[in-house]
């Protein structure tokens, strides 16, 4: 029993070590893909915390990402703060935004939360497009040469991916994690056992927003030029929902599996933009219908048939 308890950490450490060697392999294309992989993992874990573990289907996650990106850009470009400080401000700004929107959105029960966040993200995007101070539709450009090289961004993003995965694993074993999963499974039941629904949901949303904000901030630095149409675009939300659901919502390694799958598919299909999204959409629908815990859940289910791997969902 003890082994099982620690095996997720073992997997995580193993994956981290393997990824950490990617830059030294000298293949920049591999590094390029690996960067998007770890970006997707970190962003997906952010969504997984609310969507998978708290039962809050957020269709506005692009907003957290975008706020992080813009807050970092403003800090670094306008206020000339150090790059790392800008990234952290990005994460914090996104957290603050999560706090602000929690009051209206948590009033929306169930499915309304999904619609509410969808509309909220779009409203924010329109706001950003119109806001001249941050460049309106023109967006903002980082001074060339500021920031890191690809390897640097890769390690930062790897840190975020591993950090967010580890954070989720830690949270799940903590009081907060127990409360979150209880809310996901049965909100009234959880409340009757003393769980403060609002506060617990808020904590989860703020942590999720912090991760998403950081990811957005770092990616903004790497992009070098940002503008609201794509940074706040629904494409980010579509991507993250695809990744988590295909990989396995509410599992620790599902988002990683999903990120690998989606990143590689996207890259393999780079010559045929659009087609990969059609394939993803089809797989998404099939997974929802036939594999409620995604590819990872399916793998676990298969493994469980082998006595050696008996036990519970990670």
């Amino acid at each position: 029993m003890m082994d099982k308890k620690y095996s997720p950490w073992a997997i995580l450490i193993l994956v981290t070590v393997v990824l950490a060697f990617v830059p030294s392999m000298g293949d920049r294309y591999l590094l390029f893909i690996a960067y998007f992989l770890v970006l997707n993992v970190a962003f997906a874990q952010s969504w997984n915390l609310v969507g998978g573990y708290t039962g809050l289907i957020s269709l506005g996650h692009a907003a957290f990402f975008g706020i992080g990106a813009y807050a970092a850009a403003i800090s670094i470009i306008t206020f000339e703060l150090p790059v790392i400080a800008g990234f952290i401000i990005g994460g914090l700004a996104s957290t603050a935004f999560a706090f602000l929107i929690s009051f209206p959105t948590f009033r929306f029960k169930g499915i309304y939360f999904a619609i509410g966040t969808l509309v909220l993200a779009e409203a924010l995007r329109i706001w950003m497009i119109n806001w001249e101070y941050i460049g309106g539709a023109q967006g903002m450009q980082f001074p060339i040469g500021i920031g890191f090289r690809l390897t640097g961004y890769f390690y930062i993003m790897l840190g975020l991916a591993v950090g967010s995965t580890a954070l989720l694993m830690y949270i799940l074993r903590s009081k907060l994690g127990v409360g979150l999963r209880a809310i996901r499974d049965n909100e009234d039941g959880a409340q009757n056992l003393g769980v403060d629904i609002f506060r617990t949901k808020l904590t989860a949303l703020m942590i999720s927003a912090f991760i998403a904000g950081l990811v957005g901030a770092v990616h903004a630095g790497r992009l070098g030029a940002i503008e609201p149409y794509s940074i706040f675009g629904a494409a980010w939300t579509i991507g993250v929902v695809n990744i988590v659901i295909i990989g396995g919502m509410g599992t620790i390694f599902g988002p990683i599996v999903g990120a690998i799958f989606v990143t590689l598919l996207t890259e393999a299909m780079a010559d045929f933009s659009g087609i990969h999204l059609i394939i993803e959409g089809v797989i998404l629908i099939l997974v929802i219908r036939f594999m409620p815990y995604g590819l990872w859940g399916f793998v676990l289910k298969m493994l469980r048939r082998i006595p050696l791997f008996g036990g519970t969902r990670a």
């Binding site: 269709l59 009033r107 619609i115 509309v119 329109i126 659009g274």
Partner: protein, 291 residues
């Protein structure tokens, strides 16, 4: 800002509201009847616009004639999609059907690109630059047409669900699916018919959008959001509520644009949306699940 700009904005908005109602009706119906949040409704509208484009170009027909061919096509399409993809998920809670629709929307958008390319399209018609003067205010002919189409479609759907057996079965299934089943109603079939009617109204909505504005494979999303605003304003599943919601949204956008500027025009609707969801979650009009 003059009285004229505000009142002209209001009248134009009100007329355009008919289009909003028409395009949101299907969204409202499927949610009201089976609690299915069809996030692919925007793509349904765009599909209608594209098909309309194809038929009107191929046969040289006016979009208003094409729509008569389109309605049965989309009716069948809606029926089949609901039956095959959505119905099997109805018992699994609200999320699986929502996420499946999400998947459908991704597939549809990209299929449109593959089939029709990414270029802007618009439905050519002799009305698009015509104009009507109402109360001394110029209103585009298409807005006026939209207004009446919105009202006629709403009345038509209302008559259908109140006067026909199938319509009543839809209302019965809306209120209590289990009891409806005991009455001999095949609820799955009723759900599919509802989706089919929703899709048929989208045929009209999409054609109007294509004629009045332009469209690309990705224009579905903003229309979906507008649809949500209309539906939440009017109360999910409330047919007349949807009409009222559409008109109200058009009106407030028209007035709002005059005050806060065209850039924030869409924000007006979203702000109303959030306020209504917070304080009147069942919409401004009527009862939950009525009609």
């Amino acid at each position: 800002m003059s009285f004229y700009t505000v009142s002209a904005g209001a009248l134009n908005g009100l007329m355009l509201g008919g289009l909003y109602a028409c395009m949101a009706l299907g969204l409202s119906m499927v949610f009201g009847v089976m609690r299915f949040v069809n996030v692919a409704h925007g793509e349904l509208l765009v599909l209608a616009a594209f098909l309309s484009f194809v038929f009107s170009t191929a046969f040289g027909l006016h979009p208003f004639i094409v729509v008569l061919i389109l309605i049965p096509i989309l009716f069948v399409f809606g029926y089949v999609v609901q039956r095959v993809l959505i119905n099997p998920l109805m018992s699994a809670g609200l999320e699986p059907s929502l996420l499946t629709a999400f998947g459908l929307s991704i597939i549809a958008q990209n299929l449109f690109v593959e089939i029709w390319g990414g270029n802007t399209k618009s439905l050519n018609n002799n009305f698009s630059e015509m104009n009507v003067t109402l109360l001394g205010i110029d209103v585009p002919m298409l807005y006026v047409i939209s207004f009446f189409v919105g009202i006629i479609v709403t009345l038509g759907v209302h008559l259908f669900i109140t006067r026909t057996y199938t319509g009543r079965a839809i209302r019965a299934a809306t209120q209590d699916a289990a009891t409806a089943m005991v009455m001999g109603i095949n609820v799955n079939r009723i759900y599919a018919i509802t989706a089919a009617i929703g899709a048929a109204t989208a045929a009209l909505g999409g054609t109007l959008i294509g004629m009045t504005f332009s469209f690309t494979p990705t224009t579905g999303f903003p229309w979906l959001l507008k649809g949500f605003v209309v539906v939440v304003l009017g109360g999910m599943g409330n047919i007349f509520g949807t009409l009222a919601g559409g008109l109200l949204l058009g009106l407030s956008e028209g007035i709002g644009a005059a005050f806060v500027g065209t850039g924030y025009r869409d924000m007006v609707g979203f702000v109303i949306f959030l306020l209504v969801l917070m304080f009147r979650p069942n919409g401004l009009f009527g009862l939950k699940g009525s009609e």
